[in-house]
């Protein structure tokens, strides 16, 4: 290696982002910086999110959500997966790395492939790859690929002469040029089409292939070929994905548990309503109107948010009823107290609301602190619970403080016996 070569190499190495290199005689050690590693990692995750989203969108499920979660995790939610086969296909789509390489077969050593070890292959600058259909058939291909899947502009399912599904792909202009040049120089040699580390076919190059299109054939099922085409179109995953957490709920279980929770919700609600009426008399009825409006507000806001009514979400509503009652109870107790002290109804209502206010605001605000932490730290269903709780608390403050107050002011002149109205003995 002379000085010119060295300079050329150095120039090239400098172009690699986020890296440093040390020269040791004729050897160069290239190292990624910490920043570089982090950038690469982030990019890989973001690319994976994008790729998985693309794939699932094309798969045709109702509303898949794919989101980055934490530093290196991806959360995929698939509502409406009806059967096992669909789930399996969706999972395969997520996991398929879909790395396509067009590689040159090492014509010099290929005859000796059956007696070649991986170590030997590496020494020759080759890779030892298995055939897609038969693990026992091996190929020796040059380590550096001619083209990679990132040069693809399209991939579609077609049929070959034997009516078997094949995947035809198109390359972009640069890819087409490289492919044309390579095939032109290597007529008579073999070209290996490698997908995810397996050789799907290794046809002989008969002539220069211009136009930049090619075909992957194998023993595909139609659905398999379709999914593969989707995966190729949406691009390869830069990094392998592992399954860390999976939760699936069958449609019947979902319906079952929602039925249970609904029964609990309604019966709890009825108990509260009866009790309020019994305890506070007419004033209890007004509280109940506030309570019912409150429930409707929660349901409305939740449907605006597009929240699905999950089990924890329902539990959130159940608990919010308790909170909503609380604001009413605090106010009513205050008014009762003032009435017992001998205040007039108008004065009692005015002072009662005012004094109850600080207690309601302070107590609800601290609960909201807990709800916000739940939202930030929780996963899917718990997030739903936190949203319901927060919305419920805000709605209860609105209905209990403003709603009922307006009510009383509107009907104040009709109330004859204030104490009786608030369920007190005369």
């Amino acid at each position: 290696m002379d000085k010119d070569d060295r300079e050329k190499i150095e120039k090239h190495l400098r172009k690699i982002e986020f890296s440093s290199f040390i020269q040791d005689g004729d050897t160069f050690h290239v190292k990624l910086t910490e920043e570089g590693k982090l950038t690469l990692k982030t990019q890989a995750v973001e690319q994976a999110v994008e790729t998985i989203r693309n794939r699932l969108d094309q798969f045709g499920l109702s509303e898949p959500t794919v989101a980055k979660s934490g530093e290196d995790k991806i959360l995929v939610e698939l509502p409406g997966v009806k059967n096992q086969a669909d789930e399996q296909r969706a999972r395969d789509l997520i996991a398929k790395s879909a790395q396509l390489f067009l590689m040159a077969v090492d014509e010099v050593h290929q005859q000796k492939v059956s007696v070649t070890s991986e170590v030997q292959a590496k020494a020759w600058g080759d890779l030892l790859l298995p055939d897609a259909d038969d693990q026992n058939i091996k190929y020796l291909v040059r380590e550096i690929p001619i083209l990679e899947g990132s040069r693809l502009t399209g991939a579609n399912v077609g049929f070959n002469d034997m009516q078997q599904p094949v995947i035809s792909f198109q390359l972009d202009s640069i890819g087409a040029e490289i492919f044309g040049n390579f095939t032109g120089k290597n007529v008579g040699n073999h070209l290996a089409i490698v997908l995810d580390g397996r050789v799907f076919s290794a046809p002989v190059i008969n002539e220069r292939i211009g136009g930049g299109s090619g075909q992957i054939s194998g023993n595909f099922q139609l659905s398999e070929a379709q999914d593969l085409a989707i995966a190729l179109r949406s691009g390869a995953l830069l990094a392998p994905v592992n399954l860390l957490e999976k939760r699936s709920i069958g449609p019947s279980l979902g319906a079952d548990s929602i039925k249970h929770a609904l029964i609990a919700l309604i019966s709890g609600f009825i108990i509260v309503v009866i009790f309020m009426n019994f305890y506070y008399g007419r004033a209890g009825t007004i509280s109940n109107i506030a309570l019912i409006s409150n429930t409707f507000i929660i349901l409305t806001v939740m449907s605006i948010f597009g929240a699905t009514l999950t089990l924890p979400g329902m539990a959130g509503i159940v608990l919010t009823i308790g909170m909503a009652v609380d604001a009413n109870v605090i106010i009513n107790e205050r008014i009762r107290e003032l009435l017992q002290e001998g205040k007039t109804l108008t004065k009692a209502i005015e002072d009662g609301y005012e004094r109850a206010m600080t207690a309601i605001i302070d107590s609800n605000f601290t609960t909201i602190i807990a709800a916000v932490v739940l939202y930030v730290y929780g996963n899917g269903p718990i997030k739903g619970f936190a949203i319901t709780l927060t919305v419920g608390i805000l709605a209860s403050m609105l209905t209990a403080i403003l709603g009922t107050r307006g009510f009383y002011e509107a009907i104040l002149h009709n109330i004859k016996d204030g104490k009786k109205y608030f369920g007190l003995k005369g």
């Binding site: 997520i94 994905v241 592992n242 860390l244 709920i249 279980l253 909170m323 207690a359 609800n364």
Partner: protein
């Protein structure tokens, strides 16, 4: 109707040592239970897989147990009835990180001769995710504590904030003690319930503190203990009423909500009782024991008023900038 007729001032503070002893006893037994028996962590926190299966007719539990031993991944799993006799849950400590193989399939294949069944739920949490969730759970609890500490310090005084946090620890430890005693599975839902419980308990505590704050201003010259007695007496009907109503709702959830939200409703079922108790009988005495100075608070309040008055006068003298 009235729960507690005309206002009686109960002398709670005179009995505060008794309540404290009861709580101390409960806390010590809870800590003992947690240290010796520990918590029954679900897969959410330790990793593993849960498979819920519903059979047509009664589930052949013994046959299922025999069959899963024939599979190397499922072997060693526990099979228990879930809610009714036709549903079972298989719990295994393993998780499979390969997206291509599904444990649901493995189970379907292994149990295919055990009768007609439907797999209703497959939850799998990797061990790494489990430990992360556990850390997240603990840090979320800490964050709630810090948030409440800051808010209550601003709205009341630091001793009130500290007292409310001590009361929350009290509730949390006792609730955990009950979870341990009844070997209830601790999962994400139970954690959510725990956080909700903290929200409820602090809510009740603040209502009492609010009355104390009011009393401090209203009854100038009165010592702290009688003010606390008055505040607790005045709020006791509200607190019991609200808690009772909420507890009714939770009780329906506990008894009719089904097995799947058992962890959630259990924590609140116990927690609301403990939380209400601590808000009424524990939080306020702690404020006294922390040597909250009534004079100091009134002085600070008077100074604040004076400052505001001065500012008001200044504004009147020089005219409002608006």
């Amino acid at each position: 109707m009235e729960l507690i007729g005309k206002l009686k001032i109960y002398r709670f503070m005179a009995k505060s040592k008794l309540f404290a002893s009861i709580s101390l006893l409960l806390i010590i037994s809870s800590i003992y239970l947690l240290a010796t028996k520990g918590l029954n962590f679900g897969i959410d926190f330790v990793g593993g897989t849960i498979i819920q299966i519903k059979y047509v007719g009664e589930a052949p539990i013994n046959k299922i147990r025999d069959l899963i031993e024939t599979n190397e991944i499922l072997a060693g799993g526990s099979v228990t009835e879930f809610g009714s006799s036709d549903e079972v849950v298989i719990r295994i400590r393993n998780s499979v990180s390969d997206l291509k193989n599904d444990l649901g399939d493995t189970v379907r294949e292994t149990l295919k001769n055990s009768g007609e069944f439907e797999i209703r739920r497959v939850d799998m949490v990797g061990a790494k995710v489990g430990s992360e969730l556990r850390e997240k759970g603990i840090s979320s609890l800490l964050l709630v504590f810090i948030g409440i500490l800051i808010y209550v310090s601003i709205r009341f005084e630091w001793r009130f904030a500290l007292a409310s946090i001590i009361a929350l620890f009290h509730d949390l430890i006792i609730a955990l003690g009950f979870l341990s005693f009844f070997s209830v599975e601790v999962n994400l839902d139970a954690l959510a319930a725990m956080l909700t419980l903290l929200g409820y308990s602090i809510n009740d505590t603040i209502i009492v503190f609010d009355r104390i704050r009011e009393g401090l201003v209203k009854y100038k010259g009165l010592a702290l203990a009688p003010i606390v007695d008055e505040a607790v007496s005045r709020t006791i009907s509200r607190t019991t009423l609200t808690s009772l109503l909420t507890w009714f709702v939770v009780a329906t959830l506990f008894f009719f909500g089904g097995e799947i939200i058992y962890g959630f409703s259990f924590v609140l079922f116990i927690g609301i009782i403990v939380g209400t108790y601590s808000s009424i009988f524990i939080a306020s005495p702690i404020v006294i024991w922390l040597k909250f100075s009534v004079e100091g608070y009134r002085r600070a309040l008077a100074e604040k008023e004076k400052r505001e008055k001065e500012q008001q006068e200044m504004r009147e003298m020089y005219g409002s900038p608006l």
